[in-house]
């Protein structure tokens, strides 16, 4: 039971984590993440890595789509830009991995701004279709700019190093990814404590009155596109260095949709939602695979249903959450917390 939550200063009331209980759980989570690779096997660490990369990408997309209300079907394309930027810088110019991380972000942000620039005049469907075009054109570029991308064969990158230390093993790279994910989450949380974040939400809720309140729509929509694709670019950079290879089919339209699904399932406009959605949408296919594996004795063919079944469940999750729980897992989490807050005295 948590009651007696009084503040004496405005600073205390403006803090993100307002009570000692919350801070305690946060430290516990950090500690758990720290020791995780010591206890978990290679497979679990790999899953954690993939999930954390997805968190970075989902936080970025949620800034744009959930918080600013600008739908994007080009997120995978921007991730691809980041991935290729990193791979090309590493293989052709010998740039250290850690430097390619911000550069990948910037390259993707530049693309985001170019796509976003016409967005001041476009809304809803038109913007959605324009970002779809961006995705198609970027995919085409990945395949056909052979001299740079090696076409469908893709680019192989060596295991990343950091200040001479090899990050070849899963656990070593795990820490890099976790730090990037933690910074991404913190930075976007910070954003919403200031005028920039408020402006984003105002544009989503009512862009016309936002402008009459003094918000420069063009500037802030571009900010949203730049930030969102910066995160996407970093996620792409992490991904290529995790998998050690980048090919065009790693960043198809379907991946853009998958990221949209993450933030819908997690909760549009919620940072916690981005995290929950990324975890959920990464783990569900794995659980499904294990579940089908249990029935393999009955029907050896059953694994051939795995992929289409995943596709159906994926679609059903999007539809189901939008129809029944439009605020996503974050809202379910909030309700569960509210329930336990006064527990066991519910009335």
């Amino acid at each position: 039971m948590r009651i007696g939550d009084f503040k004496e200063t405005y600073a205390a009331d403006e803090a993100v984590f307002r009570t000692p209980t919350v801070r305690f759980w946060l430290w516990a989570l950090a500690a758990a993440l720290l020791v995780f690779p010591l206890l978990a096997g290679e497979y679990l660490i790999y899953m954690a890595n993939i999930t954390a990369v997805a968190v970075v990408g989902a936080v970025g997309l949620n800034l744009l789509t959930g918080c600013t209300g600008l739908i994007s079907l080009g997120h995978a394309g921007f991730m691809g830009v980041g991935a290729y930027t990193s791979a090309i810088l590493i293989t052709k110019f010998g740039v250290p991995f850690i430097l390619t991380l911000p550069i990948s972000g910037l390259a993707a942000a530049l693309c985001g701004v170019i796509v976003g620039a016409p967005s001041l005049r476009m809304k809803g469907l038109y913007l959605c279709i324009a970002t779809l075009a961006a995705q198609v054109i970027l995919e085409f570029t990945f395949v056909h700019w052979e001299s740079l991308t090696h076409g469908i064969r893709g680019l192989n990158v060596p295991a990343p190093t950091l200040f001479g230390l090899s990050l070849a093993s899963g656990p070593a790279f795990y820490y890099v990814i976790m730090i990037v994910a933690a910074i991404s989450v913190t930075a976007s949380r910070n954003l919403f404590r200031t005028r920039v974040g408020r402006a984003f939400i105002a544009i989503r809720d009512r862009d016309i009155s936002a402008q009459l309140m003094g918000i420069n729509l063009f500037q802030y929509k571009l900010y949203a596109f730049a930030l969102s694709s910066f995160f996407a670019g970093m996620a792409g950079c992490l991904m290529v260095n995790l998998l050690k290879v980048v090919t065009p089919e790693q960043y198809p339209l379907h991946l853009s949709i998958q990221y949209l699904a993450m933030i819908i399932v997690g909760g549009l406009g919620s940072i916690l939602g981005s995290i929950l959605g990324a975890i959920f949408m990464t783990i569900v296919p794995e659980l499904l695979r294990s579940a089908l594996g249990l029935f393999q004795g009955l029907d050896p063919q059953i694994m051939s249903y795995l992929f289409p079944l995943q596709t159906v469940i994926f679609g059903a999750l999007i539809v189901g959450f939008l129809v029944f729980e439009p605020h996503g897992l974050a809202e379910m989490w909030r309700r569960a917390k509210a329930y336990f807050r006064l527990w066991p005295f519910e009335y």
Binding site: I71, A133, P308, V312, P326
Partner: protein, 294 residues
């Protein structure tokens, strides 16, 4: 032989089929203001219906077409009743995403039912290619074009003259006003989805007859977006014009530019063109600018 007339003629023929598919989108948008990203999957399912009736059950061509239309209408109707009805008044993003989710469901189901193996529809049209003098058109494409144009014409007539069509147009103009005039707005929504389903499914059968079918056939459906952006989201005439333009344009781009890019230009050209159009006219070539009020 000069390839230009050939490229233009086969582009027009493909464009006619795009027009029919785009019509499936426009009919639904016009009446319900819902953007159906699953149009391509409606096509794909339609093609599989046709495959099931003709190749598996041995139904002859014409009855098979009728059965496909009935099934597609039922599918459209069900989708509206079961899913989209719950989304009335939701933000555009949510509605777009629901139809994207729907497309994923349909694609997965198709693969479970019909497997991911590539399939050919049984031959439906006379084999001999059509020789127009300046160009030769493959028979499937030629008959596909004729059927598409006939279907588009039929839909246009229904929309213009049939009582239900007039009611649909009224609903499209102003839902509240239509409601107060005694039009059952909800049944108009169902009707629009049923008609949209039929148009998309017919388009799918033709595309399937030309190039074979697989669960990813729906990807062709993405091309309707350049078409409808060009033609206006809610205009039947615009869909036809947009379809023909995009069909010719992608064929020309593919024919002349592929050697420079190593292929694939045909797939990307409509989108590049669309971006240029959007940059100049943010609401499309024939689209209406929405006037906003405070």
């Amino acid at each position: 032989m000069d390839i230009l007339p050939q490229l233009i003629v086969s582009g027009l023929a493909t464009g006619g089929v795009y027009a029919l598919i785009a019509l499936g989108f426009v009919l639904i948008y016009k009446a319900t203001h819902i953007i159906n990203f699953a149009t391509g999957e409606f096509m794909m399912i339609g093609a599989y219906f046709c495959y099931t009736f003709m190749a598996l059950a041995g139904v002859p061509v014409l009855p098979a077409f009728l059965l496909v239309m009935v099934c597609a209408a039922i599918l459209g109707f069900m989708v509206e009743r079961v899913i989209l009805r719950h989304m009335l008044g939701q933000p555009v993003i949510s509605i777009i995403m629901v139809t994207i989710g729907l497309s994923s469901i349909l694609m997965g189901l198709a693969e479970i039912i019909w497997t991911s193996q590539f399939k050919n529809l049984p031959p439906m049209f006379p084999r001999a290619p059509l020789n127009l003098g300046v160009a030769v058109v493959r028979s499937n494409l030629a008959y596909g074009f004729i059927i598409s144009m006939a279907a588009v014409g039929a839909f246009a007539l229904i929309f213009k003259y049939a009582k239900a069509g007039v009611a649909m147009r009224a609903t499209a103009g102003d839902q509240m006003a239509a409601f107060s005039m005694g039009i059952n707005v909800k049944s108009m929504f169902s009707l629009a989805w049923a008609l949209g389903g039929i148009a998309a499914a017919l388009g799918g059968v033709i595309i399937g007859a030309i190039g074979g079918i697989s669960p990813t056939l729906g990807a062709v459906g993405l091309k309707i977006f350049p078409v409808v952006i060009l033609g206006g989201l809610d205009s039947i005439g615009g869909a036809v014009l947009g379809g023909l333009i995009i069909g010719v344009l992608e064929n020309l781009a593919g024919g002349y530019l592929d050697p420079f890019f190593g292929g694939g230009v045909k797939e990307v050209a409509p989108f590049v063109f669309m971006v240029l159009v959007l940059l100049l006219k943010p609401y499309g070539l024939f689209g209406k600018e929405e006037i906003e009020r405070l």
